[in-house]
């Protein structure tokens, strides 16, 4: 008898625990983990998280900062994060090497003549005046297989040079200015706030030799992407749409409110308040929708400059998301 009672009690406890936990799970927000490489266009997401917009939309979001695009892809591939944010080249390279990720939103773009956010800068002492002058010199970029490598390759191609005509040094962005000034680099690929800092450095005598990731920027070019594994996208379409809607809301707010934008830049990017005054979001397209054609331009440039033998089809890398 005692045995039966004990069983009944244990059974009851088990059932209660099961019901309780499933109720709790039902009431819980959908989990969303985002791994990102800290860059300007991620600000709206961090701002939205701070403001509680994700919770309002029923998302339990967590943001993990990771160093560099390839690390973001690793985090997504390992299932450590649902969604990744990086420049487009790392997820493209990931997919080419068997990581089944697809890009579903783009956050920032570049377009000629004034909305460009990447620069090739030479030091005054190097004597480089233009792209052709780079031949035989020491050039820097932040990572292999990234946007900066593509930028160098594409711009060098316009003057008939390849990576074999230069000496390359892979060096993180923060160390490049000192390396330029001291002659350890002759030219480098940089972004803000480092570009602005170089421009204000009289000792460096910076010469801008090119701007924009690709030489041809007559139409807007995607500069980054949110991506996830195919499985996740197939199973979490609704979560992805909610993410897009929250991002959209935060982007609009920050674009409209200069004070909030500067505040966010100081808080999340740790810019000094002075540096934040010249900060702006690298947004050209209001919409974050990404199409196969957007990716195709980058793929074509990669094939043209020898980063990949090709041929590559943009549609394979994109999962278009309407929000």
């Amino acid at each position: 008898m005692a045995k039966i009672i004990r069983r009944a009690v244990l059974g009851g406890v088990a059932v209660a625990a099961l019901v309780g936990s499933s109720l709790a799970a039902w009431a819980e927000d959908a989990k969303l983990t985002v791994a990102y490489f800290l860059a300007d266009s991620m600000l709206p997401a961090l701002y939205a998280q701070e403001k509680g917009y994700f919770t309002e939309a029923g998302l339990d979001a967590e943001f993990i900062a990771v160093q560099g695009g390839p690390a973001v892809v690793s985090a997504v591939a390992a299932g450590e994060a649902d969604v990744g944010y990086a420049a487009p080249v790392p997820p493209i390279n990931g997919r080419l090497n068997g990581v089944p990720v697809k890009m579903f939103l783009q956050l920032s773009q570049e377009v000629a003549p004034d909305k460009t956010y990447t620069w090739l800068v030479a030091s005054g002492a190097s004597g480089i005046k233009d792209l052709a002058g780079v031949k035989g010199k020491k050039i820097g970029f932040n990572a292999n297989g990234g946007l900066c490598e593509l930028m160098w390759r594409d711009h060098l191609a316009t003057v008939g040079l390849t990576m074999d005509d230069v000496e390359t040094v892979v060096l993180p962005f923060p160390e490049q200015e000192a390396a330029l000034e001291q002659g350890n680099l002759d030219a480098t690929c940089t972004i803000n706030p480092f570009h602005a800092s170089m421009g204000g450095n009289a000792n460096l005598g910076a010469v801008e030799i090119a701007t924009g990731t690709l030489a041809d920027l007559s139409t807007p070019l995607m500069n980054d992407a949110l991506f996830a594994s195919e499985d996740w996208l197939a199973a979490n379409g609704e979560t992805a749409i909610k993410l897009a809607q929250v991002m959209d809301r935060a982007r609009k707010e920050l674009l409209a409110d200069r004070t909030a934008l500067e505040g966010a830049a100081v808080q999340f990017m740790e810019l000094t308040p002075e540096a934040a005054k010249s900060f702006s979001l690298p947004i050209v397209n209001e919409s974050m929708v990404i199409t196969a054609a957007d990716v195709q331009r980058i793929l074509d440039a990669m094939v043209k400059t020898g980063m990949h033998p090709g041929p590559l089809d943009g549609a394979e890398f994109v999962s278009e998301l309407k929000y």
Binding site: A35, A65, A71, A75, A77, E80, E177, A178, P193, E270
Partner: protein, 261 residues
């Protein structure tokens, strides 16, 4: 040298060393070898560091890093000594472990981290794996060498007292080997801090390593160097802890050595 000064110098050796480092730094700064933008003066660094202290972020980051290093070190030291003991008992396992250590030891943590992320994610498992993998070898190597190096006189004396193999290991070999094992642990302490910070810099989301990375990307050079000094002081702290433990465990050895003076 006058003994009084020597005693005094020893008593205040930590401040003396810190002053020495800061002094040399400031001299290099005053000489103006490199642009101030990349090599700020000590007062500038101090002010920047003070600001980080007041907002509390640095203390949380420091605690995270130090705790990680400490836990990693304890794990690695225990594992290393255990491996050394196993090696001392079984020649076959000894050879087997030596093969593995030979293969793994030359691999830098910076090369491990990107691989390990796929298997272990970005959390505490990653740190445990990386730290133990690079930290376990000094206590292990020193342990094996020290256990094998216990003199025949000591061993025979032990046998004469009728100690079994286990007793011999526990009561003669291990105590005799402890001083050398602690040299290994002390070296391991520094590697474990390095491994934590490297992991945090390469795949981190918090801790001092990640903070250094983040400040560098915000071009806050004085803060970056402030954090570097903090890392240096961490080394002194961790070694202080190891030394305390050593004094407790191998005090007899130190007293014996000091008596000669």
């Amino acid at each position: 040298m006058i003994p009084g000064i020597a005693v005094l110098a020893e008593k205040f050796r930590v401040p003396i060393c810190i002053a020495l480092v800061l002094g040399v730094w400031q001299i290099v700064f005053v000489l103006g070898v490199v642009n101030e933008k990349y090599f700020p003066s000590i007062p500038t660094i101090a002010v920047a560091f003070g600001q980080m202290l007041t907002d509390g972020s640095v203390i949380a980051a420091w605690a995270t890093t130090f705790l990680r290093a400490l836990i990693g070190l304890i794990g690695a030291a225990l594992l290393g000594v255990a491996l050394a003991i196993v090696s001392d008992l079984s020649p076959i396992l000894s050879r087997g472990i030596r093969y593995v250590s030979d293969v793994l030891q030359p691999i830098p943590p910076a090369a491990f981290v990107p691989m390990a992320v796929f298997m272990l994610g970005l959390g505490s498992k990653l740190y445990a794996f990386v730290i133990i993998l690079v930290t376990v070898w000094p206590p292990y190597l020193n342990g094996v060498a020290a256990l094998a190096g216990v003199g025949p006189v000591q061993l025979n004396t032990g046998r004469m007292f009728g100690l079994t193999n286990w007793g011999l290991l526990w009561r003669v070999k291990l105590p005799a080997a402890l001083p050398e094992i602690f040299t290994g642990i002390r070296y391991a302490a520094t590697i474990s801090l390095i491994a934590v910070i490297v992991s945090e810099m390469l795949a981190g989301r918090d801790g001092i390593g990640f903070m250094i990375f983040k400040k560098a990307f915000a071009m806050r050079t004085p803060e970056v160097f402030g954090l570097m000094f903090l890392v240096a002081i961490n080394g002194v702290l961790l070694n202080g802890l190891v030394n305390l433990l050593r004094r407790g465990l191998t005090g007899w050895h130190m007293r014996m050595m000091e008596r000669s003076e």
